[in-house]
Symmetry: C2
Subunit: 399 residues, 2 copies
């Protein structure tokens, strides 16, 4: 059986980056840039007033106070105006600054003596209140870098810069297929021996949290026909996840079915707990993960393995899962031959993190998974003592 | 002029919690629970096999090895089966455990000697591999607490528990209205004196990042008629944001228009930089924020003030904006009489954070806002020296 790290290496080397597409900037939130973005216009696009006040032209000594007001220009006005010495033009925040202006005096510092004359009080240290054309950025300059994930602020920047379309990596389309005769959909009434297919919508939302699309959700029976048919019918899918049917039971048909369809198995079974029977392969170059049916196991496998696949498909510098160190609040023995991911809770006190491992680690316990805020990684056959430093995977936001 | 803290107090005391609604659990991601959630069924709903193997009934001494296989039961089978001593039933992961079973032996430890007989090797320390009915949670027990924000894992838990609808706080519906003759939409070609309305889509995405809905976006002219009409036409809105037109210029009509419509002004102007002219009031009990037109100012005002309003409308324990301390990398003087929020970048080294304030803090610089990963709060008239500890507001994820 291979180790977790070996499995991750195989996943990474089996996948290639996803294709790119152009999208409108107003839809760009959280998308990953596939190229540097260059501004289409200068910003500001013209010398712009930063205040409500008067544009004036004044000599270096600043010893002049009276100005003749010859015009006014509102924000949005296209007029090309000009002033000479002794003249002023009424301007507002956002107005184009008239040609010849070397300073704007805020209206609070101007006294109107008659309709077209003001007295301005000017101090050497006053701001000029002129936002110079292109002082934010120049047309053609790079405003955002390749592989950056677009924030709300970036959308403001992109719109300011006149960019309308940007090149981004496509969102991977992912299908989730839950196999198991015992599984029923949430809209059904439960009968003896049945359970609700809880992994399905959990995995769908995990996929969304990791900036991919889940555009196919299926529950199917443990039969070769339905497994093969559901896989063969998938279209426009970049990654397939199945749950259940990958172990050694009589009804564990997923591996056989996929191989019959032509899947090249890259690995089956990893020295990990929970999640040992995980299967990974390529079917017509589309990656397929066969996860265990147990919801906790499928969750842990998603966090450890599938996130690595998504990061390879959709390259970015984002670390969705923060790995950090925390001091153990108890002694802990991992008797397993497998690297184990325990559910637990960490907290921060001053500048240190402390973590407690939940008592019951049975991989059927969804409530404990919900209560956890981290997974704690313990190597095989390892004992940790109280206050030892453990590696944790922080589960944040919607994850 | 009031302080930032005074303004926040006024906002909080002016708002009431938003109404609640029932939604389907499969749509519950990131929603805030308005009540404790109780399980509708036991989980597991029956004693369930944790392995592929054989259910047996064996005496305490475990000195028996041969068992007669009388049946097999697959996951999903509703059959009620029973075994007595010396008997075994073939089971699989997820199968109902037959009555009388006190242990399941994994198939790897069983040797089939003929079609209906096995020899099982059993060790005192072996797991029983029986998931007891309700060992995860009991029907009627609380599985999620009020005010909790639903994660992907919680959706798995909710579905497992048979819950189909949950009571959540409604998502606040927010309208954004940008005022200014100089503003044009992104689909238009820019003319002299015009700029793109970049705040609009930036605020929309910020609203989404904070778990609210932005369901109205408008650009309108600086005219009393259009301002009043656009506000009066709003329907099903829980909070209104305007940008521009709140200062002292000739075209700053927003405050007058809102008051004409009946808005009770709660405050106008705050000792904050950027964002001084911010306006807040209630119109028919709907909160309205008048933000400055400048995109950087409107962003900062959103982070400082509107997030507080959303948190009051939509009660939760989430801190969207993490406040922390970082050591300054330079001397910094705030000459302003106003509490100032500078754009800058912090990084973490070992267990400490360090922050650098950008050189140019002009509030028209969108590129600097995009490059920042924090806002640095500096009190009025305060000087900080290198290595002094500063308060930062971390800007993460889509924010």
């Amino acid at each position: 059986m291979i180790t977790v790290n070996q499995a991750i290496s195989i996943i990474k080397s089996s996948l290639v980056q996803i294709k790119t597409e152009y999208i409108n900037v107003e839809n760009a939130i959280s998308r990953i840039l596939a190229d540097n973005v260059k501004a289409k216009i200068d910003s500001p696009p013209f010398n712009m007033s930063a205040m409500d006040g008067y544009a004036i032209k004044i000599g270096k000594k600043l010893n002049q106070t009276k100005f003749k007001v010859i015009h006014e220009v509102f924000a949005g006005d296209g007029k090309s105006l000009k002033i000479t010495s002794n003249q002023a033009i009424r301007v507002f925040t956002g107005s184009r600054v008239p040609l010849g202006t070397n300073r704007i005096v805020m209206q609070e510092n101007c006294k109107v003596i008659n309709n077209n004359e003001i007295v301005a009080s000017i101090n050497k240290n006053d701001e000029l209140f002129i936002r110079k054309k292109a002082q934010d950025f120049k047309k053609g300059s790079i405003i955002l870098q390749k592989k950056h994930q677009v924030t709300a602020r970036d959308i403001g920047l992109l719109i300011t810069s006149g960019v309308k379309k940007i090149l981004v990596y496509k969102k991977p389309n992912i299908a989730v297929i839950a196999t198991g005769n015992e599984l029923i959909n949430i809209d059904k009434k439960i009968n003896k021996g049945q359970i609700y297919a809880s992994s399905l919508y959990m995995l769908k939302e995990l996929i969304n949290c990791f900036d991919a699309n889940c555009n196919k959700l299926l529950i199917i029976k443990d039969s070769e026909l339905s497994i093969k048919k559901s896989i063969a019918n998938l279209k426009n899918i970049d990654l397939i996840i199945t749950t259940g049917g990958v172990s050694v039971g009589k009804k564990d048909l997923v591996k056989k079915c996929l191989e019959d369809l032509g899947m090249k198995t890259k690995f089956w079974k990893v020295r990990v707990k929970p999640g040992k029977p995980i299967l990974f392969g390529l079917l017509n170059n589309i990656p397929i993960f066969g996860l265990p049916g147990n919801p906790v196991s499928s969750y842990v496998c998603f966090i450890i393995f599938i996130t690595e696949a998504i990061k390879k498909l959709l390259p970015s510098d984002i670390s969705y899962i923060k790995k950090s160190k925390a001091y153990s609040l108890r002694k802990f023995v991992n008797n397993s031959q497998r690297e184990t991911y325990y559910r637990g809770k960490f907290y921060k006190k001053k500048n240190s993190k402390y973590v407690d491992i939940f008592d019951n680690q049975d991989s059927s316990l969804m409530k404990n998974l919900s209560l956890a805020n981290c997974l704690i990684k313990i190597p095989a056959k390892k004992t940790y003592y109280k206050s030892d430093s453990l590696e944790i995977l922080e589960l944040k936001n919607c994850i």
